[in-house]
């Protein structure tokens, strides 16, 4: 037996002993392929598990099934064409990725975004966060056998997607916003839809919570399952709800406020022992906080332009292009990617659905990035999964994976 395996078995035995259990089948291990296309993995990635009966001894992960080389593709594209790549990373909350990218570019170019555009961005990002967390928590319900909550909140997710549609015409891969602001203002229909959502969502969310939060069957499945200590979580580079569930109140929105987040009053929900139940509760808490932020942003929505006055980077209105020489030139230059960016290096991070979503952009002064690195939270925390599942049962592993909210698109980029 290789030494790695013996070490894994020793760790698993310790974990079992902590639960007052011991190994059942001492002389044989079963190899089990969880994935790549398992209905419970919600995306394409594989885990080869060594099982002792129903207990997991060790796991080896294989990822990269939907790797699309975004970082390489980005080196050939002008800045404004890269948002469509960011959409496809965490596709449950694409507006956050889009805005994160625009803010990175604006930081490099030195474009100041007007207040109204920042508020609209905040509204869109928080709607995206709600949609992201709703999917994660309701799918956690599905994985534990409760389908009702999932169907119920998906109606509300649909309403969020209708708001996206009103804002940018797309639903899933949104490509929302432009360098310097938004591509269009909040339309009366969008405002009415957001207001309707703010009114109709809380009762649904309360009902969803009353279905799960103190549900005996649900709690039996998730309490004390897949816990991780704050120390290990930090060492593994956890960010976002998964880190906050372990009790660390790190939130990029508060630590490095961007896009006027310092204007809003909101709390950071934190958990206690980082188990699946805490992750679930932290996400629910964040949904309520996001609602608070959207309400404040809608109430205090400033008047004014919805994009910066930056003709070199922001497309002129189409009717101008036909009549005005200057607009035509700028239109051509922007679309053909003729405008060079300044030389520089930027790191900008936003709080994505799963944690710190970072963009490290190195520009050599050309029309495309010299190097673009996405800090993808999923990719970094998912490597802790084998350590977290050691000694637990297969059904717990499914619940754990579900509550970590591993999104295959973000994992593989």
């Amino acid at each position: 037996m290789p030494t790695d395996e013996i070490k894994d078995i020793a760790i698993a035995e310790q974990q079992l002993a902590r639960n007052g259990q011991q190994r059942q089948y001492v002389n044989e291990l079963t190899t089990l392929n969880l994935g790549p296309t398992h209905p419970a993995t919600h995306g394409i990635f594989q885990n080869v598990l060594q099982m002792d009966g129903e207990r997991i001894i060790s796991g080896v992960q294989t990822i990269g099934y939907i790797h699309r080389a975004f970082e390489k593709i980005a080196e050939r594209r002008p800045f404004y064409q890269i948002t469509t790549l960011t959409d496809r990373m965490n596709y449950c909350s694409s507006p956050i990725n889009n805005m994160g990218w625009w803010m990175t570019v604006e930081k490099l170019l030195g474009v100041t975004v007007p207040k109204r555009a920042e508020y609209i961005r905040v509204i869109m990002m928080e709607l995206a966060r709600i949609a992201d967390h709703l999917i994660c928590n309701s799918i956690l319900g599905v994985d534990t056998g409760a389908f009702t909550g999932f169907l119920y909140v998906f109606q509300k997710r649909e309403e969020i997607y209708e708001i996206y549609e009103e804002m940018c015409g797309a639903r899933l891969t949104t490509n929302m916003g432009r360098i310097g602001g938004m591509e269009r203002d909040l339309s009366p229909v969008a405002i009415q839809k957001i207001r309707a959502f703010l009114k109709s969502f809380p009762p649904v969310m309360r009902e969803f919570e009353s279905l799960f939060n103190r549900n005996r069957i649900f709690m039996d499945r998730v309490v004390n399952v897949g816990g991780i200590t704050a120390e290990r979580a930090l060492n593994y580079g956890f960010t976002g709800p998964n880190l906050r569930a372990a009790g660390v109140d790190y939130d990029v929105r508060v630590m490095n406020p961007y896009s006027s987040y310092h204007d809003f009053e909101f709390d950071i929900p934190v958990g206690y022992n980082g188990d699946t139940y805490d992750r679930y509760m932290v996400r629910n808490g964040e949904i309520w906080e996001s609602l608070k932020i959207i309400e404040q942003a809608m109430e205090n929505l400033p008047e004014g332009p919805y994009h910066a006055d930056a003709p070199e980077y922001y497309l002129p209105p189409k009717q101008e292009v036909y009549r005005n020489m200057e607009a035509l030139i700028y239109h051509f230059k922007i679309v053909m990617g003729e405008i060079d960016a300044p030389v520089g290096e930027v790191y900008h991070a936003v709080e994505g659905g799963n944690g710190e979503l970072g963009f490290y952009l190195v520009s050599d002064g050309g029309r495309t990035p010299y190097r673009l690195k996405f800090r993808r939270p999923c990719y970094i925390f998912y490597q802790a999964f084998p350590e977290m599942v050691q000694g637990s049962t297969l059904s717990d592993a499914i619940v754990m994976m579900s509550s970590l909210n591993v999104i295959a698109g973000e994992l593989d980029a």
Binding site: E345, Y360, R371
Partner: protein, 167 residues
């Protein structure tokens, strides 16, 4: 509140200006450079520093500069001190013929996949890494695709003239 100047002074005081050099501020974010031989000591020092406490490895990125002879490949470490809310970037460059960089896995568990990704795309040899194999690309791949000599599009195509598009 810790200023960037304090960090530079402290690092240079500890390691000397030969080992920690080129401090630059990019949009408020401090960048320093070191060498592959001293990265582990610098990381350990920053981790255990009683005030700075750079105990969170945010990201690790590789980069390729084909024209910088002897310093073609670079590793860029993003550190974050959550307690002080200060970020720091440490860079090091190695020659492309022998891109050996010591691994950080013993200090940061998250460095495991980050280094595998950097190996996968740039071909760094992270010395002491427990499992340095490809992670996102297929195992059969025999080159490192993020290096600049590999064009994204098929170089034999005649219908796309780069100069016309400013590329």
């Amino acid at each position: 509140m810790i200023t960037n100047q304090e960090i530079v002074d402290d690092l240079v005081g500890k390691f000397g200006g030969d080992l920690i050099f080129n401090p630059v501020e990019n949009y408020g974010l401090l960048n320093v450079e070191t060498t592959a031989d001293h990265i582990l000591a610098a990381m350990k020092y920053l981790y255990e520093h009683p005030r700075f406490k750079f105990q969170f490895l945010t990201d690790l990125a590789g980069i390729h500069f084909p024209d910088a002879k002897g310093k073609e490949l670079g590793v860029i470490y993003h550190l974050h001190s959550l307690e002080n809310n200060v970020r720091l970037i440490i860079k090091l460059y190695v020659p492309i013929e022998n891109p050996v960089v010591p691994t950080l896995v013993n200090q940061f568990a998250c460095a495991n996949w980050m280094e595998r990704e950097a190996y996968d795309f740039f071909g760094f040899d992270f010395e002491g890494h427990p499992n340095l194999i490809r992670i996102l690309n297929v195992e059969e791949m025999d080159y490192f695709p993020m290096r600049k000599e590999y064009p994204l599009e098929d170089a034999t195509r005649k219908d796309k003239i780069d100069e016309l598009f400013g590329r």
